[in-house]
Symmetry: C2
Subunit: 244 residues, 2 copies
């Protein structure tokens, strides 16, 4: 039995998210099929985080176990040979037998990319969320910073979320602006379902001055999903990195 750690990059557009679903193309499903084709084994790749439908990953981490040992280089090339173009194995390493991509993750970084120019350059289509309304970046920044601590994040979780402990620690929460590109970066020890996209939906309401930056703390205090803004579209979101 050999355990492998895999670093994946994928364009989420064509997939119903990470997790295997019946009759829908998923990233995990494509990996299972590719591994089956190459090794004959039926293997599930466990991911660090279950990205939603349409969400991209610059660096998703997964683990899997094969009963037969295979040369790393050959397995890596083989996977990229059979996987579709929009899912790539960027790195493949042997891992400790107990390495667990999800449970061992200490920190994750997500990034949400917004394009705030009048016309969306076609090369960015599907890769950024296009907003033509002028955005108050200063207010976004202020609001973003107020998220940076340990909180009960229920107010920003999907209404259906049921977790024992909804407290998460956010280490970094900031806005970066370069020309028309506005990026929200967030690092935390974990994220509730839809948490980043609900934060961004709220930041965007703050950015168009529909509500004040201080609403962030009110939403956190309320623990009530109905207080936050709408869920921002999936195609602006990227899982950027996972730390172990």
């Amino acid at each position: 039995m050999t355990r492998y750690k895999v670093i994946l990059q994928y364009v989420g557009t064509r997939y119903a998210g990470w997790q295997i679903q019946k009759d829908q193309p998923t990233v995990q499903g494509q990996l299972r099929d590719a591994l089956h084709k190459l090794t004959g084994e039926v293997v599930t790749v466990i991911g660090a985080g279950r990205t939603d439908s349409g969400v991209h990953a610059m660096e998703q981490v997964g683990h899997f176990t094969l009963s037969q040992e295979t040369a790393l280089e050959k397995l890596c090339r083989g996977l990229n040979g059979v996987l579709p173009w929009d899912i790539r194995v960027m790195q493949l390493d042997p891992a400790q037998p107990k390495f667990h991509a999800q449970k061992d993750a200490l920190k994750k970084r997500y990034e949400y990319r917004i394009y705030n120019g009048p016309v969306l350059p076609p090369f960015l289509y599907g890769y950024v969320h296009h907003m033509t309304h002028p955005l108050n970046v200063q207010a976004m920044q202020e609001a973003a910073e107020s998220l940076c601590q340990s909180h009960d994040f229920s107010g920003f979780a999907a209404a259906s979320t049921k977790v024992k402990n909804p407290t998460r620690t956010v280490f970094l929460s900031r806005i970066q602006e370069r020309g028309y590109h506005i990026t929200y970066q967030v690092e935390g020890d974990g994220f509730l379902h839809h948490m980043v996209r609900n934060i961004v939906g709220t930041l965007l309401e703050i950015a168009v001055e529909k509500r004040p930056p201080t609403d962030i703390l009110k939403i956190l205090d309320s623990k009530d999903r109905r207080m936050a803004g709408p869920t921002a579209p999936a195609h602006g979101l990227y899982l950027m990195r996972v730390w172990y």
Copy 2:
């Protein structure tokens, strides 16, 4: 009668090039359809250069004439409203009645984008030419520089090219390297059909040390297309800018 100058950006992937063709989607055809839908007039947009099938444009320039005057802002928004996502009007301006996007062009810049890493990041798929073989960038640079002057470029033109004067002046011809990204930039007063892609095909043979950098001058002297390397794939090529 009002003449307009339009700056376009497009992803060439889905199109059989710029120029209208029967039964094939083209950029010029999409523009004609969009203008017809908006104004009721049947108008051909003349482009600065006819990009080939699959070639991209960061800044293609075109001109067209409408018999009815229309508010600029409204026309620009209207065009982006009816054009497909992969063709965008980035700028629209009134032009002198005699402005001609092709004949008045003084200089054009093309860029050819190569990715020389082991695994192609999926976000670059269709937007760069992927080469896994290690490239000798020094040799490419040397060869690229030797193109920088006035020449008879018949050796690099498509075999079918029939022009009265195959002499073109290249003002800039250089390689830039940033990590795995290798870019060839070329500026000239005009380009023969397939000229940039044939130059790149030859530079890539030099880069894999299949032939020496000095072959560039030999090919120019020969004026024989059969001396040059293969035509590099279309999806790495971008029309970057046109000067008037």
